[in-house]
């Protein structure tokens, strides 16, 4: 049975047995090149659920407080390895009710970066299919081109060491083959930026963040960011972040987000993907996680029994002079 069928079957059972009131998975949007979160509440509509190389959405986002208006519903949810770490991060803080949760782990071998493909065409993409390592893309005007999947993976998949969920009640199909998830992580992307001079980094960040439009997609889509209407980025009093939209303010704006999810953000990449102006936020959260790993050998959301590192301390911490 394919993973997709496994997911549909687990969803069908969960819905028909009343284990969940609704089930969150993925489905195709207005065309087969777009996959969106699906909310299924009938056993007989589970067949809309899909599992393919475009299922990038981290569905944990939809467990955030105030995200859906059915606070007491029993929820089923699909999580990839990366998604599961954000879920565990929420669990570490008791911000989700495990009792009302049914988690289906979806082993994942890496997904396709649709944006990277968009850059290959001026025309609109209307269909994307993959079969054994080749991605076939069809445009609105009927042009079809093939690309090697390996070259068009999501950035997050590039640094992934958690192909299987770290927390799940059931798993859709056999686990994915995983290299040692406890191996020391690699940070080549961050190191490249670190290698620049102070001045270069500074100038580059200013240019990058000048394009931010403060739409809050990064923050609202972030699964571990839950303040909503109370986000200090919106606060006038105290005004930690100027409401003016300019490069400096935008960088502070983003640092507020980063420092608030520090120790809880596993770099799932949801913010990078959500940003309409394609700001590479991984520049910041990956760096943050690199340092957190260096400081505590801690990986956010990796273990249920751990505590986010900035909500606790060790007397023997050896920082500072």
């Amino acid at each position: 049975m394919s993973r997709q069928d496994e997911i549909r079957e687990l969803a069908r059972v969960a819905l028909s047995t009343g284990r969940v009131d609704y089930f969150i998975g993925w489905r195709e949007a207005y065309n087969p090149s777009e996959v969106v979160p699906a909310f299924v509440d009938e056993p007989d509509s589970v067949d809309q659920l899909v599992w393919n190389d475009l299922c990038a959405h981290n569905l944990t986002t939809f467990l955030k407080r105030k995200m859906n208006d059915r606070p007491n519903a029993k929820v089923g949810i699909c999580v990839k390895g990366c998604d599961s770490r954000t879920l565990v991060a929420l669990m570490q803080e008791n911000l989700v009710d495990r009792e009302r949760l049914y988690v289906v782990g979806v082993p994942c071998d890496g997904l396709v970066d649709r944006r990277k493909l968009e850059k290959e065409f001026s025309d609109e993409i209307i269909d994307i299919t993959t079969s054994n390592g080749t991605v076939s893309v069809t445009t609105h005007q009927g042009l079809t081109r093939d690309f090697p999947k390996a070259d068009y993976l999501l950035a997050a998949c590039g640094w992934c060491r958690y192909k299987n969920a770290v927390y799940a009640d059931d798993v859709a199909g056999p686990p994915a083959e995983e290299a040692d998830r406890h191996a020391k992580p690699v940070w080549t992307d961050v190191e490249a930026f670190e290698a620049l001079s102070d001045g270069e980094r500074d100038a580059m960040l200013e240019e990058i963040f000048a394009t931010c439009i403060r739409c809050f997609a990064c923050i609202n889509v972030c699964p571990v960011c839950y303040c909503w209407d109370q986000c200090v980025n919106r606060s006038r009093r105290p005004e930690l972040v100027s409401q003016k939209v300019d490069a400096k303010g935008n960088l502070v704006f983003q640092m507020v987000h980063m420092l608030h999810v520090a120790g809880r953000c596993p770099s799932c990449g949801a913010c990078d993907r959500a940003c309409p102006v394609e700001i590479p936020l991984s520049l910041l959260h990956r760096k943050m996680n690199k340092e957190i790993y260096d400081m505590f050998e801690f990986e956010p959301g990796a273990k249920l029994d751990e505590m986010p590192v900035f909500q606790c301390f060790k007397i023997e911490d050896a920082f500072g002079d």
Binding site: E42, E124, R214, D229, V277, E278
Partner: protein, 390 residues
């Protein structure tokens, strides 16, 4: 007016000519991302990508825009010596003798001439729709900042030769070659553009030696391009009755299902050519301050937050319903215009691909239509093709 012709290889020269008298803005591709940016000689205009990521809205209505600067001065009044000394008894006298704040205000509203080239008719139409609210339609507020820029701006639109699957301008009275708000319409034909000046601004902008009168053949080709494009635009819903049906479906349960995957960010409104909401801020340090406005949007949870702490649109679904009802119902009632030009940017850029067409299909249809059920509304647009394996 006569149709003119501009050869492709003359485009740069034409823009350079314009750039001498005004700032020229055009769709420019930077690392595969097309945005409206300052055009300077040597920069490539990108007309291949149909729609720039954002509408050119920000050039008429900047995301952050200053109203005025203000400053405080402490002014110590000259006390009349002859008068009896102010005793604590005489409050008024004590008041008068105290230093008082004097507030000084400077406001300036500079709007240098600018020409936007390469926007699409839907983008132009967005401005026309925005004009209603900023232009004081129906005796409402007339916004000097917006109108000064509007006045100083010429819109040189380019016909959409190959509409996207997400385009639906024709469904709401627009057209890939629409004239609304357009000062001059450029249409790509073999080897260049036909150019139709539609206003005096347009005339002035296109008054350039390299433009010659178009041949009949070129004119005919342009006409054909327009027809072709227009027929290719999808008509995903029936606009007639949408207003009334939204009203009827105001309490419809399907709003709940439709907004489930919405993350309540502001992307759709910030890329939209006609969304115009903003909030006003003061900032003051010591004696110097300024008042400015920044884009705001109805998905922002604090958008309707009242001082009391009460928020009439506290829930995501309320905010979600508002955006569509506003565009196709309230705005129409108040300003006698839709607030959507069918560009489809909100669909393309929504992090979860919320589809305005789907919303209108469901909520814009007469109440109680079977489609208006969560799961059903999902399957309603479920493509025939099955999912593919990873």
């Amino acid at each position: 007016m006569t149709i003119k012709y501009l050869a492709q290889d003359q485009l740069a020269a034409f823009l350079a000519h314009l750039a001498e008298r005004a700032r020229v803005v055009a769709p420019i591709s930077e690392d595969g991302v097309v945005l409206f940016r300052n055009w300077e000689p040597g920069r490539q205009v990108d007309l291949e990508v149909l729609l720039a990521k954002q509408a050119p809205k920000e050039f008429m209505f900047p995301q952050t825009e200053e109203y005025l600067k203000f400053s405080y001065r402490m002014d110590t009044p000259v006390v009349d010596e002859s008068a009896p000394p102010a005793g604590a008894s005489d409050d008024g006298q004590v008041e008068a003798a105290l230093p008082h704040e004097v507030i000084e205000v400077q406001a300036e509203n500079a709007a240098p001439a600018q020409i936007i080239f390469g926007l699409r008719p839907c983008d132009a139409r967005g401005f026309v729709q925005m004009d209603q609210v900023f232009g004081g339609y129906g005796g409402f507020y007339f916004d000097p900042l917006y109108n000064a820029k509007r006045e100083a701006t010429t819109l040189l639109a380019v016909t959409c030769r190959d509409p996207r699957s997400t385009c639906f301008c024709t469904a709401i009275g627009g057209c890939p070659a629409g004239h609304e708000g357009v000062d001059a319409l450029f249409t790509q034909v073999d080897g260049g553009f036909t150019v139709e000046p539609l206003t005096e601004k347009g005339e002035a902008a296109t008054d350039f030696a390299a433009l010659r009168d178009a041949s009949e053949g070129e004119a005919a080709e342009a006409a054909e391009v327009k027809v072709q494009a227009t027929t290719r635009v999808d008509v995903p819903f029936e606009i007639d009755g949408v207003r009334d049906n939204l009203k009827a479906n105001f309490e419809g349960t399907s709003w709940q299902d439709l907004c489930l995957r919405c993350i309540s960010c502001g992307t759709c409104t910030y890329v939209c050519p006609s969304c115009y909401c903003f909030s006003v801020n003061d900032s003051l340090v010591e004696t110097k301050g300024e008042r400015y406005r920044v884009w705001d949007n109805c998905f922002n949870p604090t958008y309707t937050l009242e001082t009391s702490g009460h928020n009439p649109r506290e829930k995501k679904v309320n905010r979600f319903r508002n955006r569509f009802s506003h565009k196709f119902w309230y705005y129409q009632d108040k300003y006698d215009s839709l607030l959507c030009s069918g560009c489809g940017r909100c669909i393309m850029h929504c992090p979860t691909r919320i589809d305005i067409r789907e919303v209108l299909r469901v909520m814009g249809a007469p109440a109680g239509v079977p489609e208006a059920a969560g799961a059903a509304s999902n399957s309603a647009e479920l493509p025939a093709t099955d999912g593919k394996e990873a």
